[in-house]
Amino acid sequence: MIDHLNWAAAAVFLGFFLLVTVLGFVAAHWKRGDLNDLNEWGLGGRRFGAWISWFLIGGDLYTAYTVIAVPSVLYAVGAYGFFAVPYTIIIYPLLYLTFPRLWAVAHRKNYLTAGDYVLGRYGNRWLELAVAFTGILATMPYIALQLVGMEHVIDALGFEGHGLMSHLPLTIAFVILALYTYRSGLRAPAMIAFVKDIMIYVFVLAAIIVVPMKLGGYGAIFDAAGAALAKKAAASGGKIAAGLLLAPKQMFPFISLAIGSGLALLMYPHSMTGVLSARSGNTIRVNAIALPTYSVMLALIALMGYMALAAGVHVTNPQDAVPHLILAIFPDWFVGFCFAAIAIGALVPAAIMSIGAANTFTRNIWKPFIHPAMSAQEEAVLAKLMSLIVKVGALAFILFVPTKFALDLQLLGGMWMAQVFPAVIFGLYSRWFSGWALLAGWATGMVIGTWLAWTPTAWVPVHTVFGSSFAVYNGVTAFVANVVVAITLSALLPNTANDETRAEDYADLPETQLAQ
Protein backbone atom coordinates (compact mmCIF):
# COMPACT_ATOMS: atom_id res chain seq x y z
CA MET A 1 0.00 0.00 0.00
CA ILE A 2 2.79 2.42 0.85
CA ASP A 3 5.75 0.64 -0.77
CA HIS A 4 6.06 3.29 -3.45
CA LEU A 5 5.16 6.22 -1.26
CA ASN A 6 7.18 9.37 -1.86
CA TRP A 7 8.09 9.87 1.81
CA ALA A 8 9.47 13.41 1.67
CA ALA A 9 6.50 14.63 -0.34
CA ALA A 10 4.04 12.75 1.85
CA ALA A 11 5.52 14.23 5.04
CA VAL A 12 5.20 17.82 3.78
CA PHE A 13 1.72 17.02 2.51
CA LEU A 14 0.64 15.65 5.90
CA GLY A 15 2.17 18.61 7.74
CA PHE A 16 0.09 21.12 5.81
CA PHE A 17 -2.98 18.97 6.13
CA LEU A 18 -2.59 18.95 9.92
CA LEU A 19 -2.13 22.72 9.93
CA VAL A 20 -5.42 23.37 8.13
CA THR A 21 -7.21 20.83 10.32
CA VAL A 22 -6.20 22.79 13.41
CA LEU A 23 -7.25 26.02 11.69
CA GLY A 24 -10.61 24.51 10.78
CA PHE A 25 -11.43 23.81 14.43
CA VAL A 26 -9.91 27.04 15.79
CA ALA A 27 -12.01 29.02 13.30
CA ALA A 28 -15.10 28.47 15.49
CA HIS A 29 -13.71 31.16 17.83
CA TRP A 30 -12.85 33.64 15.10
CA LYS A 31 -15.01 36.80 14.89
CA ARG A 32 -17.09 35.30 17.64
CA GLY A 33 -20.74 34.72 16.91
CA ASP A 34 -23.54 32.42 18.02
CA LEU A 35 -22.96 29.34 15.87
CA ASN A 36 -26.42 28.08 16.75
CA ASP A 37 -27.83 30.76 14.47
CA LEU A 38 -27.90 29.87 10.78
CA ASN A 39 -26.90 33.40 9.79
CA GLU A 40 -23.68 32.95 11.81
CA TRP A 41 -22.94 29.31 11.00
CA GLY A 42 -23.92 29.42 7.34
CA LEU A 43 -22.93 32.97 6.37
CA GLY A 44 -20.27 33.95 8.91
CA GLY A 45 -22.60 36.65 10.25
CA ARG A 46 -22.19 38.58 6.94
CA ARG A 47 -19.19 40.44 8.24
CA PHE A 48 -16.26 39.42 6.06
CA GLY A 49 -14.38 42.48 4.82
CA ALA A 50 -12.68 42.93 1.46
CA TRP A 51 -9.57 40.87 2.25
CA ILE A 52 -11.30 37.89 3.79
CA SER A 53 -13.90 37.90 1.01
CA TRP A 54 -11.17 38.01 -1.60
CA PHE A 55 -9.53 34.90 -0.20
CA LEU A 56 -12.84 33.18 0.51
CA ILE A 57 -14.51 33.80 -2.86
CA GLY A 58 -11.25 33.11 -4.70
CA GLY A 59 -10.85 29.87 -2.78
CA ASP A 60 -14.48 29.06 -3.45
CA LEU A 61 -14.66 29.64 -7.20
CA TYR A 62 -11.21 28.44 -8.27
CA THR A 63 -11.39 24.89 -7.01
CA ALA A 64 -8.97 21.97 -6.95
CA TYR A 65 -11.00 20.49 -9.72
CA THR A 66 -10.24 23.60 -11.80
CA VAL A 67 -6.52 23.12 -11.22
CA ILE A 68 -6.81 19.55 -12.46
CA ALA A 69 -9.52 19.78 -15.13
CA VAL A 70 -8.75 22.98 -17.06
CA PRO A 71 -5.13 22.07 -17.88
CA SER A 72 -6.24 18.52 -18.64
CA VAL A 73 -8.37 19.82 -21.53
CA LEU A 74 -5.43 21.84 -22.90
CA TYR A 75 -3.27 18.74 -22.50
CA ALA A 76 -5.83 16.66 -24.39
CA VAL A 77 -7.10 18.97 -27.15
CA GLY A 78 -5.39 22.36 -26.84
CA ALA A 79 -6.92 25.81 -27.31
CA TYR A 80 -10.50 24.69 -26.63
CA GLY A 81 -9.75 24.30 -22.92
CA PHE A 82 -8.79 27.98 -22.75
CA PHE A 83 -12.52 28.85 -22.77
CA ALA A 84 -12.05 29.12 -19.01
CA VAL A 85 -10.35 32.49 -19.57
CA PRO A 86 -13.14 34.36 -21.44
CA TYR A 87 -15.45 32.70 -18.93
CA THR A 88 -13.71 34.43 -16.02
CA ILE A 89 -13.63 37.70 -17.98
CA ILE A 90 -17.42 37.62 -18.26
CA ILE A 91 -18.23 36.88 -14.60
CA TYR A 92 -16.79 39.89 -12.78
CA PRO A 93 -18.63 42.74 -14.51
CA LEU A 94 -21.74 40.67 -13.85
CA LEU A 95 -20.80 40.28 -10.20
CA TYR A 96 -20.12 44.01 -9.95
CA LEU A 97 -23.50 45.00 -11.35
CA THR A 98 -25.85 42.48 -9.82
CA PHE A 99 -24.60 41.14 -6.49
CA PRO A 100 -24.43 44.39 -4.51
CA ARG A 101 -28.18 44.68 -5.16
CA LEU A 102 -28.80 41.09 -4.15
CA TRP A 103 -26.63 41.54 -1.06
CA ALA A 104 -28.57 44.65 0.01
CA VAL A 105 -31.99 43.05 -0.28
CA ALA A 106 -30.73 39.82 1.32
CA HIS A 107 -29.31 41.74 4.25
CA ARG A 108 -32.47 43.75 4.86
CA LYS A 109 -34.79 40.76 4.60
CA ASN A 110 -32.46 38.16 6.15
CA TYR A 111 -32.27 36.03 2.99
CA LEU A 112 -29.53 33.40 3.04
CA THR A 113 -30.05 31.73 -0.32
CA ALA A 114 -31.22 32.44 -3.85
CA GLY A 115 -34.42 30.54 -3.04
CA ASP A 116 -35.14 32.85 -0.08
CA TYR A 117 -34.88 35.87 -2.36
CA VAL A 118 -37.01 34.39 -5.14
CA LEU A 119 -39.77 33.56 -2.63
CA GLY A 120 -39.69 37.05 -1.18
CA ARG A 121 -39.72 38.72 -4.58
CA TYR A 122 -42.24 36.58 -6.44
CA GLY A 123 -44.23 35.06 -3.57
CA ASN A 124 -44.11 31.70 -5.36
CA ARG A 125 -43.04 28.64 -3.33
CA TRP A 126 -42.76 26.42 -6.38
CA LEU A 127 -40.31 28.80 -8.05
CA GLU A 128 -38.40 28.83 -4.76
CA LEU A 129 -38.39 25.03 -4.77
CA ALA A 130 -37.21 24.93 -8.40
CA VAL A 131 -34.29 27.25 -7.62
CA ALA A 132 -33.35 25.28 -4.49
CA PHE A 133 -33.67 21.89 -6.19
CA THR A 134 -31.50 22.99 -9.13
CA GLY A 135 -28.82 24.28 -6.77
CA ILE A 136 -28.60 21.08 -4.74
CA LEU A 137 -28.75 18.88 -7.82
CA ALA A 138 -25.85 20.73 -9.45
CA THR A 139 -23.78 20.99 -6.27
CA MET A 140 -23.65 17.30 -5.35
CA PRO A 141 -21.57 16.16 -8.34
CA TYR A 142 -19.43 19.30 -8.00
CA ILE A 143 -18.47 18.29 -4.44
CA ALA A 144 -17.79 14.79 -5.68
CA LEU A 145 -15.41 16.19 -8.29
CA GLN A 146 -13.44 18.03 -5.60
CA LEU A 147 -12.78 14.60 -4.18
CA VAL A 148 -11.65 13.38 -7.56
CA GLY A 149 -9.16 16.26 -7.66
CA MET A 150 -7.88 15.26 -4.23
CA GLU A 151 -7.60 11.62 -5.16
CA HIS A 152 -5.47 12.39 -8.20
CA VAL A 153 -2.81 14.00 -6.01
CA ILE A 154 -3.00 11.32 -3.31
CA ASP A 155 -2.43 8.70 -6.02
CA ALA A 156 0.47 10.71 -7.39
CA LEU A 157 2.08 10.69 -3.93
CA GLY A 158 2.52 6.96 -4.49
CA PHE A 159 -0.27 5.67 -2.28
CA GLU A 160 -1.56 2.35 -3.57
CA GLY A 161 -4.45 0.27 -2.41
CA HIS A 162 -7.05 -2.17 -3.58
CA GLY A 163 -10.80 -1.91 -3.50
CA LEU A 164 -12.18 0.30 -0.79
CA MET A 165 -8.75 0.57 0.87
CA SER A 166 -7.59 2.69 -2.06
CA HIS A 167 -9.99 5.38 -0.89
CA LEU A 168 -8.79 5.34 2.73
CA PRO A 169 -6.78 8.61 2.75
CA LEU A 170 -9.58 10.42 0.95
CA THR A 171 -12.15 9.13 3.43
CA ILE A 172 -10.08 10.22 6.43
CA ALA A 173 -9.54 13.68 4.92
CA PHE A 174 -13.21 14.05 4.24
CA VAL A 175 -14.36 12.94 7.67
CA ILE A 176 -12.08 15.54 9.25
CA LEU A 177 -13.43 18.17 6.86
CA ALA A 178 -17.00 17.22 7.72
CA LEU A 179 -16.28 17.55 11.45
CA TYR A 180 -14.77 21.00 11.39
CA THR A 181 -17.37 22.31 8.95
CA TYR A 182 -20.02 20.99 11.32
CA ARG A 183 -18.44 22.81 14.21
CA SER A 184 -17.22 26.08 12.68
CA GLY A 185 -19.49 26.60 9.68
CA LEU A 186 -18.35 29.09 7.03
CA ARG A 187 -15.61 30.40 9.33
CA ALA A 188 -13.61 27.20 8.73
CA PRO A 189 -13.21 27.48 4.93
CA ALA A 190 -12.77 31.27 5.29
CA MET A 191 -9.75 30.76 7.52
CA ILE A 192 -8.32 27.85 5.55
CA ALA A 193 -8.75 29.80 2.31
CA PHE A 194 -5.87 32.08 3.38
CA VAL A 195 -3.48 29.14 3.56
CA LYS A 196 -4.84 27.49 0.45
CA ASP A 197 -4.70 30.54 -1.80
CA ILE A 198 -1.22 31.60 -0.71
CA MET A 199 0.03 28.05 -1.32
CA ILE A 200 -1.55 27.94 -4.77
CA TYR A 201 0.01 31.28 -5.69
CA VAL A 202 3.45 30.06 -4.57
CA PHE A 203 2.99 26.84 -6.53
CA VAL A 204 1.94 28.68 -9.70
CA LEU A 205 4.72 31.27 -9.44
CA ALA A 206 7.29 28.52 -9.01
CA ALA A 207 5.91 26.61 -11.97
CA ILE A 208 5.81 29.57 -14.37
CA ILE A 209 9.41 30.45 -13.50
CA VAL A 210 11.01 27.01 -13.18
CA VAL A 211 9.29 25.17 -16.04
CA PRO A 212 10.23 27.59 -18.85
CA MET A 213 13.81 27.64 -17.49
CA LYS A 214 14.00 23.87 -17.84
CA LEU A 215 12.22 23.69 -21.18
CA GLY A 216 13.80 26.65 -22.98
CA GLY A 217 11.22 29.42 -22.61
CA TYR A 218 7.56 29.88 -23.44
CA GLY A 219 8.14 29.92 -27.20
CA ALA A 220 9.65 26.47 -26.96
CA ILE A 221 6.83 25.22 -24.72
CA PHE A 222 4.15 26.40 -27.15
CA ASP A 223 6.06 24.94 -30.11
CA ALA A 224 6.52 21.55 -28.46
CA ALA A 225 2.89 21.45 -27.27
CA GLY A 226 1.70 22.47 -30.73
CA ALA A 227 3.70 19.66 -32.31
CA ALA A 228 2.36 17.12 -29.80
CA LEU A 229 -1.24 18.26 -30.40
CA ALA A 230 -0.81 18.18 -34.18
CA LYS A 231 0.47 14.62 -33.88
CA LYS A 232 -2.56 13.71 -31.77
CA ALA A 233 -4.96 15.26 -34.30
CA ALA A 234 -3.24 13.46 -37.20
CA ALA A 235 -3.27 10.13 -35.34
CA SER A 236 -7.04 10.42 -34.86
CA GLY A 237 -7.48 10.85 -38.60
CA GLY A 238 -8.86 14.38 -38.14
CA LYS A 239 -11.62 13.22 -35.78
CA ILE A 240 -10.17 15.05 -32.79
CA ALA A 241 -9.72 18.76 -33.39
CA ALA A 242 -6.56 19.42 -31.39
CA GLY A 243 -4.18 22.33 -31.75
CA LEU A 244 -2.82 25.62 -30.43
CA LEU A 245 -5.63 27.48 -32.20
CA LEU A 246 -9.32 26.73 -32.46
CA ALA A 247 -10.63 24.86 -35.47
CA PRO A 248 -13.37 26.94 -37.20
CA LYS A 249 -16.07 24.56 -35.95
CA GLN A 250 -14.84 25.02 -32.35
CA MET A 251 -15.32 28.79 -32.25
CA PHE A 252 -19.00 28.92 -31.33
CA PRO A 253 -18.77 26.07 -28.83
CA PHE A 254 -15.74 27.84 -27.30
CA ILE A 255 -17.38 31.18 -26.71
CA SER A 256 -20.87 29.87 -25.91
CA LEU A 257 -19.33 27.54 -23.32
CA ALA A 258 -17.68 30.61 -21.78
CA ILE A 259 -20.94 32.60 -21.77
CA GLY A 260 -23.10 29.75 -20.49
CA SER A 261 -20.65 28.85 -17.72
CA GLY A 262 -20.52 32.54 -16.79
CA LEU A 263 -24.31 32.68 -16.45
CA ALA A 264 -24.20 29.56 -14.27
CA LEU A 265 -21.28 30.16 -11.93
CA LEU A 266 -22.75 32.86 -9.73
CA MET A 267 -26.02 30.95 -9.42
CA TYR A 268 -24.46 27.98 -7.59
CA PRO A 269 -25.36 27.88 -3.89
CA HIS A 270 -21.68 28.03 -2.94
CA SER A 271 -21.17 31.23 -4.96
CA MET A 272 -24.18 32.79 -3.22
CA THR A 273 -22.85 31.73 0.18
CA GLY A 274 -19.37 33.08 -0.58
CA VAL A 275 -20.57 36.42 -1.93
CA LEU A 276 -23.41 37.04 0.54
CA SER A 277 -21.03 36.56 3.49
CA ALA A 278 -19.32 39.85 2.53
CA ARG A 279 -19.94 42.72 4.93
CA SER A 280 -21.31 45.20 2.34
CA GLY A 281 -22.17 45.77 -1.29
CA ASN A 282 -18.98 47.76 -1.59
CA THR A 283 -16.94 44.79 -0.40
CA ILE A 284 -18.40 42.90 -3.36
CA ARG A 285 -17.59 45.74 -5.79
CA VAL A 286 -13.99 45.93 -4.59
CA ASN A 287 -13.78 42.16 -5.03
CA ALA A 288 -15.11 42.34 -8.57
CA ILE A 289 -12.06 44.52 -9.24
CA ALA A 290 -9.58 42.40 -7.27
CA LEU A 291 -10.74 38.84 -7.98
CA PRO A 292 -9.47 38.79 -11.60
CA THR A 293 -6.01 38.25 -10.05
CA TYR A 294 -7.17 34.67 -9.65
CA SER A 295 -8.14 34.56 -13.30
CA VAL A 296 -4.58 35.41 -14.33
CA MET A 297 -3.46 32.55 -12.13
CA LEU A 298 -6.08 30.29 -13.71
CA ALA A 299 -4.77 31.13 -17.20
CA LEU A 300 -1.26 30.22 -16.08
CA ILE A 301 -2.50 26.99 -14.50
CA ALA A 302 -4.30 26.18 -17.75
CA LEU A 303 -0.98 26.49 -19.59
CA MET A 304 0.44 23.75 -17.35
CA GLY A 305 -1.38 21.41 -19.73
CA TYR A 306 1.06 22.59 -22.42
CA MET A 307 4.00 22.46 -20.04
CA ALA A 308 3.13 18.81 -19.41
CA LEU A 309 3.04 18.13 -23.16
CA ALA A 310 6.35 19.94 -23.67
CA ALA A 311 7.96 18.12 -20.74
CA GLY A 312 6.98 14.83 -22.34
CA VAL A 313 4.57 13.79 -19.58
CA HIS A 314 2.62 10.77 -20.82
CA VAL A 315 -0.54 9.89 -18.93
CA THR A 316 -3.55 7.93 -20.12
CA ASN A 317 -5.95 10.03 -18.05
CA PRO A 318 -5.38 13.71 -18.95
CA GLN A 319 -6.41 14.63 -15.41
CA ASP A 320 -3.09 13.21 -14.20
CA ALA A 321 -1.16 15.64 -16.41
CA VAL A 322 -0.62 18.35 -13.78
CA PRO A 323 0.28 16.04 -10.86
CA HIS A 324 2.78 14.26 -13.11
CA LEU A 325 4.22 17.52 -14.39
CA ILE A 326 4.81 18.52 -10.77
CA LEU A 327 6.50 15.18 -10.08
CA ALA A 328 8.69 15.59 -13.14
CA ILE A 329 10.05 19.06 -12.43
CA PHE A 330 10.10 19.75 -8.69
CA PRO A 331 12.15 18.28 -5.80
CA ASP A 332 10.22 15.91 -3.52
CA TRP A 333 9.54 18.32 -0.67
CA PHE A 334 8.10 20.90 -3.05
CA VAL A 335 6.01 18.21 -4.72
CA GLY A 336 4.45 17.63 -1.29
CA PHE A 337 3.81 21.37 -0.99
CA CYS A 338 2.12 21.60 -4.41
CA PHE A 339 0.01 18.52 -3.82
CA ALA A 340 -1.06 19.85 -0.43
CA ALA A 341 -2.04 23.12 -2.13
CA ILE A 342 -4.26 21.22 -4.56
CA ALA A 343 -5.77 18.98 -1.87
CA ILE A 344 -6.51 21.91 0.44
CA GLY A 345 -7.85 23.62 -2.66
CA ALA A 346 -10.45 20.87 -2.69
CA LEU A 347 -11.35 21.21 0.98
CA VAL A 348 -12.28 24.90 0.86
CA PRO A 349 -14.86 24.73 -1.94
CA ALA A 350 -16.13 21.35 -0.73
CA ALA A 351 -16.85 22.91 2.68
CA ILE A 352 -18.55 25.98 1.19
CA MET A 353 -20.54 23.87 -1.27
CA SER A 354 -21.82 21.64 1.50
CA ILE A 355 -22.75 24.70 3.58
CA GLY A 356 -24.48 26.31 0.58
CA ALA A 357 -26.42 23.14 -0.17
CA ALA A 358 -27.29 22.71 3.53
CA ASN A 359 -28.55 26.31 3.84
CA THR A 360 -30.62 25.82 0.71
CA PHE A 361 -32.13 22.55 1.87
CA THR A 362 -33.00 23.95 5.29
CA ARG A 363 -34.42 27.26 4.16
CA ASN A 364 -36.08 26.38 0.88
CA ILE A 365 -37.12 22.74 1.08
CA TRP A 366 -37.48 21.64 4.71
CA LYS A 367 -38.80 24.86 6.23
CA PRO A 368 -41.50 25.81 3.70
CA PHE A 369 -42.69 22.31 2.90
CA ILE A 370 -42.17 20.25 6.06
CA HIS A 371 -41.84 22.43 9.14
CA PRO A 372 -42.76 26.09 8.61
CA ALA A 373 -42.55 27.01 12.32
CA MET A 374 -38.80 26.34 12.59
CA SER A 375 -36.84 28.52 15.00
CA ALA A 376 -33.43 29.95 14.13
CA GLN A 377 -31.78 27.33 16.38
CA GLU A 378 -33.64 24.47 14.72
CA GLU A 379 -32.54 25.83 11.34
CA ALA A 380 -28.89 25.77 12.42
CA VAL A 381 -29.16 22.23 13.82
CA LEU A 382 -30.72 20.93 10.62
CA ALA A 383 -28.25 22.76 8.35
CA LYS A 384 -25.27 21.35 10.27
CA LEU A 385 -26.69 17.86 9.96
CA MET A 386 -27.37 18.39 6.25
CA SER A 387 -23.80 19.52 5.66
CA LEU A 388 -22.71 16.13 7.01
CA ILE A 389 -25.23 14.22 4.91
CA VAL A 390 -24.27 16.11 1.75
CA LYS A 391 -20.60 15.23 2.28
CA VAL A 392 -21.30 11.58 3.03
CA GLY A 393 -23.40 11.53 -0.13
CA ALA A 394 -20.57 12.99 -2.20
CA LEU A 395 -18.11 10.50 -0.70
CA ALA A 396 -20.43 7.56 -1.40
CA PHE A 397 -20.76 8.86 -4.94
CA ILE A 398 -17.01 8.65 -5.44
CA LEU A 399 -16.68 5.26 -3.72
CA PHE A 400 -19.48 3.46 -5.52
CA VAL A 401 -20.24 5.28 -8.77
CA PRO A 402 -17.85 5.54 -11.74
CA THR A 403 -16.08 8.91 -11.85
CA LYS A 404 -17.31 9.46 -15.38
CA PHE A 405 -20.81 9.78 -14.02
CA ALA A 406 -19.77 12.63 -11.72
CA LEU A 407 -18.07 14.34 -14.66
CA ASP A 408 -21.18 14.06 -16.81
CA LEU A 409 -23.39 15.37 -14.03
CA GLN A 410 -21.05 18.30 -13.46
CA LEU A 411 -21.28 19.13 -17.14
CA LEU A 412 -25.07 19.03 -16.94
CA GLY A 413 -24.90 20.93 -13.65
CA GLY A 414 -23.56 24.10 -15.27
CA MET A 415 -26.32 23.98 -17.87
CA TRP A 416 -28.95 23.47 -15.14
CA MET A 417 -27.64 26.31 -12.97
CA ALA A 418 -27.89 28.79 -15.87
CA GLN A 419 -31.64 28.13 -15.89
CA VAL A 420 -32.21 29.87 -12.55
CA PHE A 421 -30.45 33.03 -13.76
CA PRO A 422 -33.64 34.73 -15.07
CA ALA A 423 -35.54 34.13 -11.81
CA VAL A 424 -32.71 35.42 -9.61
CA ILE A 425 -31.07 38.18 -11.65
CA PHE A 426 -33.90 39.69 -13.70
CA GLY A 427 -35.82 40.15 -10.47
CA LEU A 428 -33.11 42.46 -9.12
CA TYR A 429 -34.07 45.04 -11.72
CA SER A 430 -37.74 44.52 -12.44
CA ARG A 431 -40.83 42.85 -11.05
CA TRP A 432 -42.40 42.71 -14.50
CA PHE A 433 -41.90 38.94 -14.76
CA SER A 434 -44.49 36.63 -13.27
CA GLY A 435 -43.31 33.87 -10.91
CA TRP A 436 -45.26 31.21 -12.79
CA ALA A 437 -43.80 32.40 -16.12
CA LEU A 438 -40.28 32.17 -14.70
CA LEU A 439 -41.08 28.68 -13.41
CA ALA A 440 -42.32 27.63 -16.85
CA GLY A 441 -39.18 29.13 -18.41
CA TRP A 442 -37.01 27.23 -15.95
CA ALA A 443 -38.80 23.95 -16.71
CA THR A 444 -38.44 24.55 -20.45
CA GLY A 445 -34.73 25.28 -20.10
CA MET A 446 -34.11 22.23 -17.91
CA VAL A 447 -35.91 19.88 -20.30
CA ILE A 448 -34.43 21.30 -23.51
CA GLY A 449 -30.91 21.46 -22.09
CA THR A 450 -31.01 17.91 -20.74
CA TRP A 451 -32.61 16.61 -23.92
CA LEU A 452 -29.97 18.27 -26.12
CA ALA A 453 -27.20 16.83 -23.99
CA TRP A 454 -28.44 13.28 -24.26
CA THR A 455 -27.01 10.99 -26.92
CA PRO A 456 -27.07 7.19 -26.82
CA THR A 457 -23.34 6.98 -26.00
CA ALA A 458 -22.60 9.99 -23.81
CA TRP A 459 -23.82 13.33 -22.49
CA VAL A 460 -22.50 16.08 -24.75
CA PRO A 461 -22.14 19.74 -23.78
CA VAL A 462 -22.63 21.28 -27.22
CA HIS A 463 -25.26 20.70 -29.84
CA THR A 464 -25.88 22.01 -33.34
CA VAL A 465 -28.62 24.54 -33.89
CA PHE A 466 -29.96 25.88 -37.20
CA GLY A 467 -28.56 23.08 -39.33
CA SER A 468 -25.31 21.25 -39.00
CA SER A 469 -22.43 23.75 -39.04
CA PHE A 470 -23.31 25.86 -36.05
CA ALA A 471 -22.83 24.23 -32.63
CA VAL A 472 -23.65 26.00 -29.38
CA TYR A 473 -23.33 25.09 -25.70
CA ASN A 474 -26.61 23.56 -24.50
CA GLY A 475 -26.68 25.86 -21.49
CA VAL A 476 -26.98 28.88 -23.79
CA THR A 477 -29.58 27.31 -26.10
CA ALA A 478 -31.68 26.27 -23.10
CA PHE A 479 -31.23 29.71 -21.52
CA VAL A 480 -32.57 31.46 -24.62
CA ALA A 481 -35.62 29.15 -24.71
CA ASN A 482 -36.09 29.77 -20.98
CA VAL A 483 -36.10 33.56 -21.40
CA VAL A 484 -38.43 33.46 -24.42
CA VAL A 485 -40.98 31.39 -22.47
CA ALA A 486 -40.64 33.59 -19.38
CA ILE A 487 -41.22 36.78 -21.39
CA THR A 488 -44.13 35.40 -23.40
CA LEU A 489 -45.98 34.01 -20.39
CA SER A 490 -45.26 37.10 -18.27
CA ALA A 491 -46.98 39.17 -20.93
CA LEU A 492 -50.00 36.86 -20.85
CA LEU A 493 -50.40 35.80 -17.20
CA PRO A 494 -51.79 38.03 -14.47
CA ASN A 495 -49.03 39.09 -12.08
CA THR A 496 -50.67 39.64 -8.72
CA ALA A 497 -48.53 37.55 -6.34
CA ASN A 498 -47.12 39.23 -3.27
CA ASP A 499 -43.74 41.00 -3.41
CA GLU A 500 -42.29 41.65 0.05
CA THR A 501 -39.38 43.75 -1.28
CA ARG A 502 -39.51 47.43 -2.23
CA ALA A 503 -37.34 49.36 -4.66
CA GLU A 504 -35.33 51.01 -1.86
CA ASP A 505 -34.41 47.58 -0.38
CA TYR A 506 -31.99 47.09 -3.28
CA ALA A 507 -29.91 50.19 -2.55
CA ASP A 508 -26.67 50.09 -0.54
CA LEU A 509 -27.00 50.17 3.25
CA PRO A 510 -25.66 53.20 5.11
CA GLU A 511 -22.19 52.54 6.53
CA THR A 512 -23.50 52.80 10.11
CA GLN A 513 -25.78 49.78 9.68
CA LEU A 514 -23.03 47.39 8.60
CA ALA A 515 -21.47 44.69 10.79
CA GLN A 516 -18.05 45.53 12.20
Binding site: P93, L245, I289
Partner: protein, 56 residues
Amino acid sequence: MKYLLLMLPSLASFLVPFYNVTEPRLFGFPFFYWFLVVLIPLSSLVTYLVYKGEKR
Protein backbone atom coordinates in the same frame (compact mmCIF):
# COMPACT_ATOMS: atom_id res chain seq x y z
CA MET B 1 -22.18 54.33 -20.86
CA LYS B 2 -21.30 52.60 -17.58
CA TYR B 3 -22.71 49.31 -18.85
CA LEU B 4 -20.94 49.62 -22.19
CA LEU B 5 -17.64 50.21 -20.43
CA LEU B 6 -18.15 47.21 -18.14
CA MET B 7 -19.08 45.00 -21.07
CA LEU B 8 -16.14 46.04 -23.23
CA PRO B 9 -13.66 43.29 -22.21
CA SER B 10 -16.39 40.63 -22.46
CA LEU B 11 -17.33 41.86 -25.92
CA ALA B 12 -13.67 41.75 -26.95
CA SER B 13 -13.51 38.13 -25.80
CA PHE B 14 -16.44 37.32 -28.12
CA LEU B 15 -14.37 38.26 -31.20
CA VAL B 16 -12.96 34.76 -31.53
CA PRO B 17 -12.06 34.86 -35.26
CA PHE B 18 -10.09 38.08 -34.64
CA TYR B 19 -7.82 36.65 -31.96
CA ASN B 20 -7.69 33.02 -33.10
CA VAL B 21 -4.25 33.58 -34.68
CA THR B 22 -0.64 32.87 -33.75
CA GLU B 23 1.07 36.12 -34.75
CA PRO B 24 2.09 38.51 -33.33
CA ARG B 25 3.65 36.53 -30.50
CA LEU B 26 4.56 38.09 -27.16
CA PHE B 27 7.25 36.47 -24.96
CA GLY B 28 6.66 33.31 -26.99
CA PHE B 29 2.88 33.34 -26.34
CA PRO B 30 0.77 33.07 -29.51
CA PHE B 31 -1.65 35.99 -29.93
CA PHE B 32 -4.65 33.84 -28.96
CA TYR B 33 -3.21 33.30 -25.48
CA TRP B 34 -1.70 36.65 -24.61
CA PHE B 35 -4.68 38.58 -25.95
CA LEU B 36 -7.05 36.73 -23.63
CA VAL B 37 -4.66 37.02 -20.69
CA VAL B 38 -4.27 40.79 -21.25
CA LEU B 39 -8.07 41.17 -21.25
CA ILE B 40 -8.14 40.04 -17.60
CA PRO B 41 -6.31 43.04 -16.04
CA LEU B 42 -8.08 45.24 -18.56
CA SER B 43 -11.48 44.11 -17.28
CA SER B 44 -10.25 44.79 -13.76
CA LEU B 45 -9.15 48.30 -14.78
CA VAL B 46 -12.45 49.08 -16.49
CA THR B 47 -14.39 47.93 -13.42
CA TYR B 48 -12.15 50.10 -11.24
CA LEU B 49 -12.85 53.16 -13.43
CA VAL B 50 -16.59 52.57 -13.20
CA TYR B 51 -16.28 52.15 -9.43
CA LYS B 52 -14.37 55.43 -9.09
CA GLY B 53 -16.92 57.14 -11.32
CA GLU B 54 -19.78 55.93 -9.12
CA LYS B 55 -18.07 57.02 -5.91
CA ARG B 56 -17.70 60.62 -7.11
